[in-house]
Symmetry: none
Subunit: 207 residues, 4 copies
Amino acid sequence: MTRNSSTQEAILTSARRHFMKHGFKDASLNRIVSDAGFTKGAFYGYYKSKEELFDALVEQTSEELVELLGSITSGWSAYAEADQMQHLDEAFFQQLPRLADFIVSHRDDLRLILTKAQGTRYEGFTDSLVENNIEHIEPMLDRAGLSGVDRDTYRLLMTAYYGVLSQVVTGDYGRERIIRMIHDVQIVFQNGILSLAKQQDTQEKAA
Amino acid sequence: MTRNSSTQEAILTSARRHFMKHGFKDASLNRIVSDAGFTKGAFYGYYKSKEELFDALVEQTSEELVELLGSITSGWSAYAEADQMQHLDEAFFQQLPRLADFIVSHRDDLRLILTKAQGTRYEGFTDSLVENNIEHIEPMLDRAGLSGVDRDTYRLLMTAYYGVLSQVVTGDYGRERIIRMIHDVQIVFQNGILSLAKQQDTQEKAA
Amino acid sequence: MTRNSSTQEAILTSARRHFMKHGFKDASLNRIVSDAGFTKGAFYGYYKSKEELFDALVEQTSEELVELLGSITSGWSAYAEADQMQHLDEAFFQQLPRLADFIVSHRDDLRLILTKAQGTRYEGFTDSLVENNIEHIEPMLDRAGLSGVDRDTYRLLMTAYYGVLSQVVTGDYGRERIIRMIHDVQIVFQNGILSLAKQQDTQEKAA
Amino acid sequence: MTRNSSTQEAILTSARRHFMKHGFKDASLNRIVSDAGFTKGAFYGYYKSKEELFDALVEQTSEELVELLGSITSGWSAYAEADQMQHLDEAFFQQLPRLADFIVSHRDDLRLILTKAQGTRYEGFTDSLVENNIEHIEPMLDRAGLSGVDRDTYRLLMTAYYGVLSQVVTGDYGRERIIRMIHDVQIVFQNGILSLAKQQDTQEKAA
DNA sequence: GATGAATGAGTGTTCATTCAT
DNA sequence: TATGAATGAACACTCATTCAT
């Protein structure tokens, strides 16, 4: 995977800086490469295209993020019974430090993926996370008695939720701050959704 | 002024299509005008710049949206007492149909403003809505006993909330669906935040 | 000649302002015409081209200037005898007020001709004045005993002399000031040239 | 740095030709590079802008000219006493061959600087030479008893004087011819100005 | 492995001029 | 007389990519 030629290293470092500053599309390959101390010819010895360079930067982190979020989500299933929802917190909150650590140690890559990827295959990354998530969670919702919540609305909320993660990543918060913020947001969404479900339940029975 | 030029109409239509597809920055003025059946020279008889063209498309809608959201927000103040928070719904929910109607009838313009405006003066539009909102709401939070919620976290949530509006706009939902969705999301955020505030209150007293 | 349509008048006024500010080439016909309150179509009803517009502004003044300078020059012939050179002043200095008056009352046109005409047929106007002048003066020089002065050098000096006129026109000096300045410059050139001729005479005799 | 690129050479040659013919502003970069046998992309591998190309052509010559004229001017101060003005010639005339050599060997560059630089930072080059000169010479004039000459008039004459240099450069004269011409012009200006000063002295005493 | 020369299509913008109405 | 719509070529400049060396 990572043939650590020092040339490659230099190009990657310069590329990260430029992509971070201008985004994929508006970053100039010319400047990336010459800031790294090389010429465009050298670059094309390592990568086939500008996009492949972006990929090299974020691919691993992207995969790890998918995996991490997947493991968190699948952990929920154990609690997905109506009378255990109040304990769902634990399943998630236990994972929070892991998530925060991951964010802190991959912040730049995550920023690239979440906010600088316009024009690459990561463009709809957040959406795919949401889609993926929903597929996993949908069956649980029924068992948890949340089937009254409209699917599109749920998708909306999940997108908003992942949007919050984007923001946390984009901000310059430290580890503890991140844990606290995600925790609070999690409470808002969790209790909010429960409250919505309860209310709809009431209405249905009344009808 | 001269709204009834068919050329202008053709350019605007073509521009809307291209801006929607590629965003302001990546849309080619060249292709916009030639798709409209004209030359660049013709275009510059109507608009001074590419940005002015974008403006012509969205300016009015943008102003109306700001006004509409402002009138909704300012309506809240009457209910901003701790024991009346449960009635806050009414103030907002009464306005919901107006908001939905606005979205339905200005959908394309709103998409341009909210997701395709990179490179124009509308670039930070959502952020400015959030900032504006926070300024108006902050004093209410204290009176409502929600001062325990961290400001950054609150900003995060508000950004997510407006992000939801973006999504509603981006999706192709009909009027009733939109009303329902925003209503549900509103409940989730409202009750979720109240629940977070209560929990923090408890913790503070324990400490 | 001058069909004084008010439209024409307005266009000429606007054109003068723009040509003065940006020069012929860099002035925009578009702006000239729209500043005058009309459209390009109207303009082309009066003039065949941008250049013709410039011509309309300066043609008369240009001709008058040629005539005036010609009359001054030809007045010298009476004094063009070696022993009357010291009286040549009179011939010129008598005309000075006329020249100054002309400059003051045609200043803008003269500026256009002398410094803003790049790209028009007036581009080499000063040069043609010089050429014209030399043709007239050459025969006198012999009679005046100035034949020792190299012709190219003389041309150089005449160009410089007319360059001074340009500067006087370009500056914002008043009538009296102009008279004084040209008078002084005239003395410098006249006595300077005489002194050069004398010196060359001496050298020739020595040789 | 990399002076020996034949491409660069070809571009510079073509550029010189075009700048000479049309001046900086009206020369087309497109035509410069395609006449050189290349594309615009190739050009921008060597220079950052059209202006930088002009600079590459004339920068060195410009600096050398400033230096040369400076050294000539500063040499005058030794003679700037009223009773030594007649020897000022020597100081200047000794330098004449150097000046002529410089002109002959940098003729094209000098033409660019003096008459084709509109739109570049060399635009007011002659004016700055004049200004610079006046600053240096003003104190000498007092000591030399020439304080009676009006400052504006003096500036006029200096501008004309440098205009003569422009012409010498513009013409296609050989070395000896140039020396002779500048020499003669110098005599005209010098003796002419002295004569003007004397005359004013007389008038003042009379008053 | 790396260079550096070169391409060619692209960007938004300005211009003087034409012409049907 | 004047409009206003449209042209088409020109402008300086940027870009990702190719390739012989």
